[in-house]
């Protein structure tokens, strides 16, 4: 992992932040929120691959890095599933 790559990633990160802030001009709605969250996911991925050097790490290390996310997804998915199916009252 070179310094050059790191600088490029930093530029990309700031660009993503700028893009996400620009998206605020859009109308509030699912599209805008998706853009914000998508930008956050890309930024997080960039930080993890380059600043945390996952790109250079071996498979086991990557598994450890993503394992937490995998288990966390259980918490999110099942809790949200329960909430959204709880009572058929909120329409929309």
């Amino acid at each position: 992992m070179t310094m050059r790559a790191a600088v490029l990633v930093w530029v990309a990160l700031l660009a993503m932040l700028g893009a996400s802030l620009l998206a605020l001009q859009l109308e509030t709605g699912p599209l805008r929120y998706t853009l914000h969250l998508g930008a956050a996911a890309v930024m997080a991925a960039l930080v993890m691959t380059v600043f945390m050097r996952l790109k250079a790490a071996d498979g086991m290390m990557r598994l450890f890095a993503l394992g937490g996310l995998f288990w966390l997804s259980f918490l999110f998915l099942l809790t949200l599933l329960e909430l959204l199916s709880r009572t058929p009252q909120a329409g929309g």
Partner: protein
């Protein structure tokens, strides 16, 4: 003991306080843990005895309601977090895991010691909670009772549990890394003893589930101190969210308690059947499946709570499915005895007791996974009986079995064989006397956490209380003869049971560096034939 009389090992030398309290030796840290959890076990046990004595009569005549509620909360908190969670991993696991992979120590010895200190700090907070008048929320800390209504030392108790969580996280990290990186040449993943696999899976759960409990308790603490309410219904908060977060930890926590127990039982049954464990691969897969799918079933604690019916059905389905790997393990333990040469030592009697109690606990779990039956049984004594069959009949019996199995290795001494067998039987009988009647009480409708109850339930409560007496004897006996054996017990050879496994290659007790020469592994585990 004079040090000159025996060869140097990890117990000789450095008998100063400093030599123990600042030790980085995983074997000594195991002892620090063993002594602490024994203390907490008997504290929780005294609470249990008082609870059972109160329930001898339907009226609340021995204790006030406040005292009773504080006692069952103390019993739960102490037994779950200060005994069961650390029991097998932090003592036997700490001692044996590095030896079983052939290492000199854990990957992070300092972290290991730190984990014990954090445990002690958590214990201190809990003691503060007791001295400050106790906590009356039950071990589950349900909101809004714990946040807005309870008038007891909730903050100190929650802090104690919050703190002790980090000790189990550190132990977990240590186990995971040690299993990954510290194995000697030849000790491949599929040659690891099941005890190592079980503790590895346990460590995964510790690392991944405990932080969710930590944050949940932190939220409770913040709501009580700063008034930052996350669960307050008046602000649109949802008490069910607390239950989701709590059980996301606390259901997998059951597997933290039972997986290491399963590991112990696999070692004992293989050794005293003189057979390799039946279906080793199946056992490994089952262990890992439990660690994974154990995270998908927490909602079965919430079937009557007002959660979505569809979520309830999904959680029920997962709960049935997670029972299958446990059933496979039971089948394999039984099949391991097939065409064996069975030796009835005390550890084996504990292991067979475990088998019986665990199966009853597991199958009654299937009752509770069935939605409509659970609605009737939820929060009754049936549930109390069920989880005691798993956690006490299962985990504690296995802990005692493991302690008897590895005692010669731990101490270099043998204990009286006859007494130990009597104690194992007393435990089995006492346990069933205590908890079997509670199944009947439960379907009969008797709710949990009741200080007083209708007179019709009296007979079974009396039986249960009487059983507690026998059970107490079953727990006190080992305390006496094991302590006795430390001084007067016969010296143990390196491998008194002719068992397989790297730990038995080391002298008893092992030297500080565990092995005289670094072992290598060339064969599958459990090569008893």
């Amino acid at each position: 003991m004079s040090a000159s009389a025996e060869p140097a090992h990890y117990l000789t030398g450095g008998w100063s306080l400093r030599g123990w309290l600042l030790t980085l030796d995983h074997k000594r840290i195991a002892w620090l843990y063993a002594i602490s959890i024994t203390g907490f076990f008997f504290l929780g046990g005294i609470a249990a005895l008082l609870i059972r004595l109160e329930l001898l009569t339907p009226a609340g005549d021995l204790l006030s309601s406040e005292a009773y509620n504080r006692l069952f909360s103390l019993h739960g908190i102490v037994m779950v977090w200060f005994f069961l969670i650390p029991s097998i991993p932090a003592t036997l696991g700490n001692f044996l895991l590095p030896m079983m992979v052939g290492a000199r120590d854990m990957a992070f010895p300092r972290l290991n010691l730190l984990s014990w200190y954090i445990y002690t700090l958590g214990g201190l907070f809990t003691m503060v909670a007791v001295i400050a008048g106790g906590v009356d929320t039950g071990w589950t800390f349900y909101t809004p009772y714990s946040t807005l209504f309870a008038n007891s030392a909730v903050l100190a108790a929650a802090t104690g549990v919050f703190v002790v969580g980090f000790s189990s996280i550190l132990t977990g990290i240590n186990f995971i890394v040690t299993t990954h990186t510290m194995r000697v040449p030849g000790q491949t993943w599929l040659r690891l003893p099941l005890f190592v696999w079980a503790n590895y899976a346990t460590a995964l759960i510790m690392v991944l589930a405990t932080p969710v409990l930590s944050i949940t308790l932190l939220l409770i603490a913040l709501e009580r101190t700063l008034g930052i309410g996350i669960f307050d219904p008046a602000l649109g908060g949802d008490p069910l969210l607390f239950q989701h977060l709590f059980w996301f930890y606390s259901h997998p926590a059951v597997y933290i308690m039972i997986l290491p127990a399963m590991g112990v039982i696999s070692e004992i049954i293989a050794c005293f059947s003189r057979n390799p464990v039946f279906g080793y691969t199946g056992m490994v897969l089952s262990i890992m499946a439990i660690a994974l799918f154990g995270f998908l079933v927490w909602g079965h604690h919430m079937f009557v709570s007002g959660q979505s019916l569809y979520a309830g059905i999904l959680f029920s389905l997962f709960s049935f499915l997670v029972a299958v790997p446990s059933a496979i393990k039971t089948l394999n333990w039984t099949a391991t005895m097939f065409r064996g040469r069975i030796v009835y030592t005390a550890p084996m009697i504990y292991a067979l007791s475990f088998l019986g109690l665990f199966v009853i606990g597991g199958l009654t779990g299937v009752f509770l996974a069935s939605l409509a039956v659970d609605v009737h049984l939820h929060d009754t004594y049936f549930v109390t009986a069920h989880f005691h069959y798993i956690m006490v009949g299962g985990a504690v019996t296995a802990y005692l079995g493991g302690l008897h199995f590895w005692w010669p290795k731990l101490t270099g001494r043998l204990y009286p064989a006859l007494w130990s067998k009597v104690a194992a039987l007393a435990l089995f009988i006492g346990f069933n006397l205590t908890f079997y009647p509670q199944f009947l009480l439960g379907y009969g409708g008797m709710p949990r956490r009741y200080h007083e109850y209708p007179e019709a339930f009296e007979l079974l409560h009396v039986m249960s209380t009487l059983g507690t007496g026998v059970l107490a004897i079953g727990y006190l006996m080992p305390l006496v003869y094991l302590a006795w054996s430390l001084r007067y017990g016969e010296r143990a050879p390196a491998n008194p049971w002719h068992a397989k496994g790297l730990e038995w290659l080391a002298p008893s007790p092992p030297p500080v560096d565990n092995f005289v020469t670094t072992p290598t592994v060339t064969e599958a585990p459990y090569a008893y034939r």
